[in-house]
Symmetry: C2
Subunit: 403 residues, 2 copies
């Protein structure tokens, strides 16, 4: 007897979202006007608005007494409550937490970040996040009485249990620390349901929504302290059979090459991470700030290093793109921002690995979103949990955001 | 106003499927018994059974007069109509068509095949399929009065328009022939809705359902005249942004290697297709029949060729599996059947390309299904179109089939 409850919940959520959308698009409406706008019965609308009022998603703003010609009882007019934080997106990186808050209409109404040390344990990270959320709420006059959901991005594979024998530090400094109760801590504090996933996956989902309309199939790679990756297929994050999907950084690109922190040899991460690229450019004194200048001024060492990196990355991305056929390949992380020449070279190499006709070639581009990407993607994942809205453009609110 | 219709259709299909499942599991039932079994109102059950009777999916078998103690009017008892073919799966290969027919309860009730020449045009192929379907229907006393759907597998990328500039023969002899109206021909003949996709993708879906219960994430490769591939993620076929997903055969494995029929150099297909393997073993007079014997008797040339093939294939599969984290990697096609030693070697190589812990390693196995795989997968894809049943084990009927 599992299905009837589920089918009912699907229909109810769909109805709720149609009412919220009508209020977002048209502003304050009476219950009768809502019923006409969404094509549901007055009885159904009464039930839905009762729940939305109870949850603090909408408020009564006035009555239609002023506009009324007739003599009947004035009807209340309802509107979205702009002061109600309804969704929380949280991204725990290695050295900072970012938070984005969306209201009932899926509009992002506040966001911010707070650093911590990369040796900070989970109690401290969670405390930092709670303080940040309180501060953002106070600044904007937001309250969190009726959170619909919380999305939390973390580093490393998810679920954690998928990599029980990963060597210490294999997925960066924050990974080894226990984070098994981060969801419980948030659920208890806010009384809302929580989803947890890898923050690079959330960033990829945010990029898919921030990109062109048909970029629901996207391959994402982030060149940072390590090399992370993620896939979005049909607008959904791919987790894989054991939560390990997306580990593009550990595809072998140099058979028998340098030992990687994961325990394998010659992984993409050993040639394309920020530390690997800077180490290879050491003799030119390159740092993250001077990399693109050195490349553009045709410094031969830096040029060669970036070309080798681009070749390794382009081949790996090309092979994966041959199998996944994404609409876009997005390159994020510091290097992509600081050495855009790399992106051009990757596009060229990856293109040669693909069928020699146009429909086979994805667009290759730099990431568009800034450090908020993980928190925004966590929000998008929450919005997308409504199965009937999955294919609806309405679930792509990221477009409206300042990057 | 698109949503209400959709939501309603989802709920109606879900209800229909629950009624069909109850009849499949319990045999003949009265409307009252059905209502109790599935937890829906008598009114709703009356509407659903009216539609199912109209469509020929169920029939009235008797009344409960014999068992009744009271004096009321005897109730009709309904059962699935075993003589009703409700779903057609069709697989147009390069040199034959295969058909599988399922009844309303998703049980496969008939299947068969018919050869044609690989130069046969689409009118001939379609005629061959229609004749085969008529013959199977006559033999089993099946009728096709109320088909719920038809799934058609074809060779080459789908949609066809995704590869407009593919060189002649890039995807095998059948691909260049126009097949744009195959769906129209079937829709007109049977008055049912049609889905069309690549037949390797359908085979992969069938293998996912024929495999272990958690193999909803599967990477499939077929070593045949060419090398085809397909991905199943979360129980769904991956088509890609332009219908080109799965082309594992055209991942570069030998940079600067032999020219492939697709126009690129050093594709996996140039070393792992049946013709490529046999050509490399030519000096030992190997054919598809003697390949495994020669390998097992440690013929040095054949051993080396198979090892090289396994290494190339294992590396490509390992790289893709690192990004997509499948539960299973399935190797199909003649070579996998004829030289199982290859599968062992591929598993070893692919395993080395993956994280050195157990949860990161997919099971690598031979395909379990025979030549029916494409037609069975087309059926499974039809069954899976019901969104609320997607995650339900009930939608995995392939398990019950003789391979």
């Amino acid at each position: 007897m599992r299905m009837p409850g589920e089918a009912h919940a699907v229909v109810r959520r769909t109805h709720q979202e149609r009412v919220l959308r009508a209020l977002r698009e048209r502003g304050a409406l009476s219950r009768g006007e809502i019923a006409d706008a969404v094509g549901l019965s007055r009885t159904t609308i009464s039930e839905i608005t009762r729940d939305l009022l109870r949850d603090g998603a909408v408020v009564v703003v006035d009555t239609d007494a002023a506009q009324r010609a007739g003599s009947g009882r004035p009807a209340e007019r309802l509107a979205l409550d702009p002061d109600s934080g309804q969704f929380l997106g949280v991204d725990f990186g290695h050295r900072r937490v970012r938070v984005a808050i969306a209201d009932a209409s899926h509009e992002v109404v506040a966001s911010g970040g707070q650093p911590y040390s990369d040796s900070a344990g989970w109690p401290e990270r969670i405390r930092t996040a709670f303080d940040l959320i309180d501060r953002l709420g106070d600044e904007r006059g937001l309250h969190f009485r009726a959170l619909h959901g919380i999305g939390i991005g973390v580093t490393g594979p998810h679920p954690r249990s998928s990599a029980p024998h990963a060597p210490e530090g294999a997925f960066g400094p924050g990974f080894a620390a226990a984070r098994d109760d981060v969801d419980v801590a948030f659920a208890e504090r806010f009384g809302a349901s929580v989803i947890v996933d890898n923050n690079t996956r959330f960033a990829a989902l945010a990029e898919a929504l921030a990109g062109d309309a048909d970029a629901e199939n996207l391959l994402y790679v982030r060149l940072s302290d390590g090399v992370g990756g993620a896939l979005v297929i049909g607008g959904r994050i791919v987790a894989g059979a054991t939560g390990l999907a997306g580990e593009l950084g550990h595809v072998t690109v140099v058979p028998g090459g340098a030992r990687c922190r994961c325990g394998k040899d010659g992984c993409l991460e050993t040639v394309a991470s920020v530390p690997a690229v800077l180490a290879a450019c050491r003799e030119r004194g390159a740092d993250v700030g001077s990399l693109d200048d050195l490349a553009r001024s045709r410094d031969p060492v830096v040029e060669r290093v970036l070309r080798d990196t681009a070749t390794a990355l382009g081949r790996a991305l090309g092979a994966v793109a041959m199998v996944f056929n994404p609409a876009e390949v997005v390159i994020g992380g510091e290097i992509a921002r600081l050495a855009p020449v790399l992106v051009e070279q990757v596009a060229e190499t990856a293109g040669r690995e693909l069928f020699p006709w146009v429909a086979a070639k994805p667009r290759v581009r730099c990431a568009r979103l800034a450090d908020d990407d993980g928190a925004l993607g966590a929000l998008a994942a929450l919005f997308r949990r409504s199965p009937l809205l999955t294919d609806h453009p309405e679930t792509a609110p990221i477009r409206a955001l300042p990057a």
